[in-house]
C-alpha cells in the first residue's frame, strides 16, 4: 500500500533536500520528540536562525516529516512501500535511505503513542485485597460475617484511579470462576482460528 502525499505535504517536505543529512536526522529526532511530548515552537525559531530560513519553513518541514512518519506507522506499511512512496518526492538516494531508517527505528514507539489516542476505557492496573470479618454493628452484636475488601487500581488517560469495593466469599468464588472461563475462551478453536486468519 502506498502513501498518498498531498501537494501541500510534498511542498513542506521539499525543504528537506536543501539541508544536509545531519539536519534531517535532527528534524527526525525533533519530530518524534514532539509526538512524545507535544510541540515546542521555540525550537523552530532556534533552528530557523541557524539555517537562515523562516521559522515557518522549519515548522512545515518538521510537521511534514511528522505526518510522513505517523501515517506510515499507522498503516504499518512495508519497507518497499515506504521507499516507493518517498520515491515520488524525487529526493537523493541518501535522503531516501535516511527517511527509511527514521521510519523503521521509530515505528514501534510511534504506534504505541498512536494507540493511546484510541477511545479508551479505564484499564486495569492492579488489585489489592484484604480479608475482613465483621464482628458487630450498631444494629447487631456478636456477628461473624466474612468479607473480602478489594482495592481496584485503574488507569484512564494517564490518571490513576482507585475504587474500594467489597464482596462476600460466595461472590468471590463466582468471580474467579467466571473470569477463568473468560481466560479459557482465548484457547478455544474458534478464537484461535480468528487470530490465525485475520492478519
Amino acid at each position: 500500500m502506498l502513501l498518498e502525499l498531498s501537494e501541500e505535504h510534498k511542498e513542506h517536505l521539499s525543504f528537506l533536500p536543501q539541508v544536509d543529512s545531519a539536519v534531517v536526522a535532527e528534524f527526525g529526532r525533533i519530530a518524534v520528540e514532539f509526538l512524545r511530548r507535544g510541540a515546542n515552537p521555540k525550537i523552530y525559531e532556534g533552528a530557523a536562525r541557524k539555517l537562515n530560513v523562516s521559522s515557518d519553513t522549519v515548522q512545515h518541514g518538521v510537521e511534514g516529516l511528522t505526518y510522513l512518519l505517523t501515517e506510515s506507522s499507522k498503516l504499518m506499511i512495508s519497507e518497499l512501500d515506504f521507499q516507493d512512496s518517498v520515491f515520488v518526492l524525487g529526493f537523493s538516494e541518501e535522503l531516501n535511505k535516511l527517511l527509511l531508517q527514521l521510519y523503521l527505528d521509530n515505528r514501534k514507539e510511534i504506534r504505541t503513542i498512536l494507540s493511546e489516542l484510541a477511545p479508551s476505557l479505564p484499564s486495569y492496573h492492579n488489585l489489592e485485597w484484604r480479608l475482613d470479618v465483621q464482628l458487630a454493628s450498631r444494629s447487631l452484636r456478636q456477628q461473624i460475617k466474612p468479607a473480602v475488601t478489594i482495592k481496584l487500581h485503574l488507569n484512564q488517560n494517564g490518571d490513576h484511579n482507585t475504587k474500594v469495593l467489597q464482596t462476600d466469599p460466595a461472590t468471590l468464588l463466582h468471580l474467579v470462576q467466571q473470569l477463568e472461563q473468560a481466560l479459557e475462551e482465548m484457547k478455544t478453536n474458534h478464537c484461535r482460528r480468528v487470530v490465525r486468519n485475520i492478519k
Binding site: 494507540s115 486495569y124 454493628s137 450498631r138 444494629s139 460475617k145 473480602v148 469495593l165 467466571q178 482465548m186
Partner: protein, 195 residues
C-alpha cells in the same frame, strides 16, 4: 440492654390480665413481630376485632413497647434467661413468659437477618460480566490485531438504591494477574475457615 420507662410501663400493662386477656395478649405479640419482620405489614396490623375493646392509646403504647424490646433483645442476642428475667420484673405470669419466649424463638432468625442487613458498608460487588474482543484497527492505528477483555463489575451501594457499574479493559496478561490475585484471596479465605 437499656430500656426506657415507657417500655417498662407498656409491658406492665401487657402483663395485666385485666387489660389484656390471653387472646389479646397473643394477638398483640404477634402483631409486634409482624410489623417488624413482615415487609408488607401495614398500619392495620392492630385492627383485629378481638383488640377493638382496648383503648387505642394503650394498644399503641404496648405495641411500641413490645417492638422496642424485641429489637433490643435481637440486637444483643438475648437468651431465654435474659428474656425471662426482664419479663418477670414486669410482672408477667409464667404462661405469658413462655408465650413470649416461644414467639421470640420462632422469629429469632428473621430478626437477626433483618438487623444484620442494616448498616453501611462499602459498595458490594454483586456480579461480573466480561467480553472478549479482537482489536483490528482504530482510526489512528491500523493493523492492530490484539485480543482484549472488557470486564464489568455490577456493584450495589448501600447509600443509594442504584446499581452503578465499574467497567475496565484489560489485556490477557492483566486478566491473568487479576484472576491470580482473586484466587489468592479465596485460598486465604479457605485457610482461614479451617482454623
Amino acid at each position: 440492654m437499656e430500656l426506657s420507662e415507657s417500655v417498662q410501663k407498656g409491658f406492665q400493662m401487657l402483663a395485666d390480665p385485666g387489660s389484656f386477656d390471653s387472646n389479646a395478649f397473643t394477638l398483640l405479640l404477634r402483631a409486634a413481630f409482624q410489623s417488624l419482620l413482615d415487609a408488607q405489614a401495614d398500619e392495620a396490623v392492630l385492627d383485629h376485632p378481638d383488640l377493638k375493646h382496648i383503648d387505642p392509646v394503650v394498644l399503641k403504647h404496648c405495641h411500641a413497647a413490645a417492638a422496642t424490646y424485641i429489637l433490643e433483645a435481637g440486637k444483643h442476642r438475648a437468651d431465654k434467661s435474659t428474656l425471662s428475667t426482664y419479663l418477670e420484673d414486669c410482672k408477667f405470669d409464667r404462661e405469658r413468659i413462655e408465650l413470649f419466649c416461644t414467639e421470640y424463638q420462632n422469629n429469632k432468625n428473621s430478626l437477626e437477618i433483618l438487623l444484620g442487613s442494616i448498616g453501611r458498608s462499602l459498595p458490594h460487588i454483586m456480579d461480573v460480566s466480561w467480553r472478549l474482543e479482537y482489536q483490528i484497527k482504530t482510526n489512528q492505528l491500523h493493523r492492530m490485531y490484539r485480543p482484549a477483555y472488557l470486564v464489568t463489575l455490577s456493584v450495589q451501594n448501600t447509600d443509594s438504591p442504584s446499581y452503578p457499574e465499574i467497567s475496565f479493559s484489560c489485556s490477557m496478561e492483566q486478566l491473568q494477574d487479576l484472576v491470580g490475585k482473586l484466587k489468592d484471596a479465596s485460598k486465604s479465605l479457605e485457610r482461614a475457615t479451617q482454623l
